[in-house]
Symmetry: C2
């Protein structure tokens, strides 16, 4: 059926059809159609909403994303037909039926994901089936390669290319702001793509955005890296492994963290930027993705095996994940803390040591330092001021202001200090509660929002002594965070003797 197009400014991959036209073509509510622009042959799949009023018969309302994909002008003719059943549906059902998928089958599914041929419920079934039935390493490799092939890629003319990834779950993990300039300052290349926070208080991309733009296509990531040795950009705008971005959307409500999916997701992004030396940070803790060291080692071996299949060298660091890294959580607060370290601050040690350790591993892998000497090299680059100088080049090449200093970073104007309700020891920093509180205060959208911690686990605080400060850009956000903060108990202060166990228990 041919229809006249009309753009509707609605951000949704859909089209709006008059009910009479729908009836004539047998389209029902919620169906998916193929829509083609006859002028240029571009075609996309879109879900259908129906109306009696907004769009008249003979016309089709194209929501903004569909309008953009088709490159259509208002009044142009488009053609619609029933979206063919994507080939992936049979393959997803095969996976539901606990059967292994071949390289070609995985590629078919990933192609359909990227071409938006699968609806969200269909994609959800695929992700759920992978989660329940698992993927073996062949399937993980196929998925990784397919995700790389369906997106943009970077090819550098020189090697090595270094990359680094933290699998997440620790608040305040601003280490990339130190690691990337340290590595680039050594002469190695590190084109770091990173994510925005989905459930967290600040992803690395959210942090860097405080200092400079972070949205660049893959070609510019390459040019900038060639120029200054490193960048810190948002992966979502590079079109690198775009299938992964769509998969994450359906994983999100369940916090599904299917092992194979995670391996493929991380490694596809590293592979696509041309990295051949990769350091993976695996934080282990009660509230991180990995709960004990044995589990962390197992994951590390899987990363290394997948790396070998892709001809990449991978090393993993099992790190402490039971407390935030450094003292700050939230975009501007974290950037301020990291910048201060680059400027010479010798605190906080948790941040400095973790960053230098991971940079040191990369130096040893790249042959920049002898085994066991990487940490020292990283420390030298940091304390000499070379890392700061490099970071300013990175900020500048991305379009930010290189004259920025830790002192000039604006924090949220509305603050509230939370004091210890009693004297005692800080026995717990609850990561999920800290993140919730920072988010209530406005992080990551409000750059100035977040938390600064004044006391660390094991430290003794007196009654009324400050234990943390909440920052917010907006007054009502601060109010919200204060109210909820009482319930969340992100910092627990108790007597050191937590629970008295009667001796009878031991006597039995």
């Amino acid at each position: 059926m041919k229809l006249t197009s009309k753009t509707l400014d609605i951000a949704n991959r859909g089209v709006l059809l008059n009910r009479a036209d729908a009836r004539n073509t047998g389209v029902v509510d919620g169906d998916r159609l193929r829509v083609m622009n006859h002028a240029n042959g571009r075609a996309v799949s879109a879900h259908v909403d129906l109306t009696d009023v907004i769009i008249e018969p003979g016309t089709i309302g194209l929501y903004a994303p569909i309008h953009c994909s088709l490159e259509v002008k208002d009044g142009d003719e488009v053609e619609i037909w029933e979206a063919p059943k994507p080939a992936s549906l049979e393959l997803i059902k095969k996976k539901m039926n606990k059967r292994k998928l071949s390289r070609d089958e995985v590629r078919t599914i990933v192609n359909d994901i990227v071409a938006d041929n699968l609806s969200l419920p269909e994609l959800s079934a695929y992700v759920t089936a992978n989660y329940i039935n698992g993927m073996d390493m062949d399937e993980v490799e196929h998925l990784t390669v397919a995700m790389v092939e369906t997106g943009s890629k970077i090819t550098f003319s020189t090697r090595p290319i270094v990359d680094k990834h933290s699998i997440g779950g620790v608040p305040g993990n601003k280490i990339s702001l130190l690691i990337v300039p340290i590595i680039a300052a050594s002469g190695l290349k590190i084109p770091k793509t990173s994510s925005r926070a989905i459930t967290g208080a600040a992803g690395t991309a959210d942090l860097m955005e405080v200092l400079a733009p972070v949205e660049f296509p893959a070609e510019e990531v390459q040019t900038m890296t060639e120029k200054v040795g490193g960048v810190i950009v948002w992966g979502g705008s590079t079109n690198i492994a775009p299938a992964d971005d769509q998969i994450i959307v359906v994983e999100y409500p369940f916090k599904i963290d299917a092992r194979g999916q995670m391996l493929a997701s991380v490694m596809a992004k590293k592979f696509a930027v041309g990295a051949n030396l990769v350091v993976i940070d695996i934080p282990v803790g009660r509230t991180t993705k990995i709960h004990d060291v044995a589990e962390g080692r197992k994951l590390a071996r899987e990363f290394i095996e997948l790396g070998e299949r892709l001809k990449m060298r991978v090393e993993c660091a099992i790190t402490f994940g039971d407390a935030p890294v450094g003292h700050t959580i939230g975009p501007a607060l974290e950037v301020k803390e990291a910048l201060a370290v680059l400027e010479g601050s010798t605190e906080p040690q948790s941040l400095i040591q973790k960053s230098l350790s991971l940079a040191g591993i990369a130096f040893e892998m790249a042959g920049k330092a002898q085994q066991g000497q990487g940490y020292a090299l990283a420390e030298e680059i940091l304390t000499s001021g070379k890392a700061l100088a490099k970071f300013k080049q990175i900020i500048e090449v991305q379009g930010g202001d290189p004259s920025v200093t830790a002192a000039t970073i604006p924090l949220g104007a509305h603050t509230h200090v939370v004091n210890a309700p009693q004297s005692g020891y800080v026995v717990e920093l609850n990561n999920p509660s800290l993140v919730s509180l920072a988010r209530l205060a406005g992080a990551p959208q409000d750059h100035g929002a977040g938390l600064e911690l004044h006391a660390k686990p094991g430290e003794r605080v007196g009654k009324g002594q400050p234990i943390f400060t909440i920052y917010a850009d907006r007054a009502w956000r601060l109010k919200l965070a204060i109210e909820e903060g009482r319930r969340l108990m992100p910092v627990v202060v108790e007597g050191m003797l937590l629970d008295r166990v009667p001796s009878e228990h031991y006597l039995g």
Copy 2:
């Protein structure tokens, strides 16, 4: 956040928000919000689309279904907040992790489905997890009961209440049009709710709609049944087991037919109408849901066990499913064939025998006939004209014209006869191809569209002899069906000797 409402005639459970308001409240694309009408306290969940243009800051666009649910007037104030994470998500994840759900947990999920607190991808994950990990009979019972409790119910003051269900997969299965009036004519009550075709050419509700309205709330189903003994209505408008309707939507793309889900779906609908004697038709064939008799018997035992748990008596009939029932496929054609039988036609035997057998089982269960005598009683009611008289009462009580006769049913005006390409035997009627062809011709939306078969499997036809006729309400639909019909080969004519097997094979 409080906003002024504005209705938008778009059929979709969503709202449209200005991008500025979204940014202020931290809402991102694709989020789900709770929306409340302050005037009456009604609140619903809705997904969010964003716009810069169509809705201005301070206003919210309510798509038609949300507008209806809230009973809001244009310009009324509504309040929005982030939809709380439904409790079901953790429970669905538990099911993904292969753990069994309790009665309360299943109820929580079904409540969230009915309250529309789950997005379609979330619901898809639930259905996929149930499919892969299966449900034991406890879970099936819990699901059945929860689906009943979250919908409308009918309670009759007298017993028994009879019901009947075909698990589907056989085209032309118009038997309910005979069984319901035969049973009602005996004095028993049979409040039959039925479905519309989703992938088929005509559901029982599509058939009945040729003769009378089929959309009634549960109370009217009860009143009408009390009055004339039986009805044939569309289940979708009764609000009986509404969770099931939503589950079917996400099962559809994969043709998932999770055993436990199917048991719960069927039995919830029977339980909710108050049925205590239920006959289940299990067609067995290469292209039906059940492929051999052993599998059919296993399913039958499961239906019977679930019935016992719900205090319902269930009997199952394993029936022949390799060819259509009768000679017609498509709404008007099937109704005409069934009406002709009620009017005294002694053909087609496949339709008459199947209908009388199933009605006979119900008579024996209800004690209306001795064991082995049910078929004869059903036959007597049919041939005496009592069933026809009862069917006219049913048509009338539902608001149709009781003076209808088989001869007056209008069929599609555009027809095309397909003749045998060669002399030979009809060796196959391909059910899926027959259904596809009827749908291409316009069934079930176009009531006059469908197929009439002139030759049955095993019958010899001469070259050029008619083998089937395609009917369509619209000329272009007929053209489409004729073109595709060549490819689909729904009726295969061959020499009786299909393949000559060399004797060596036997000699080995």
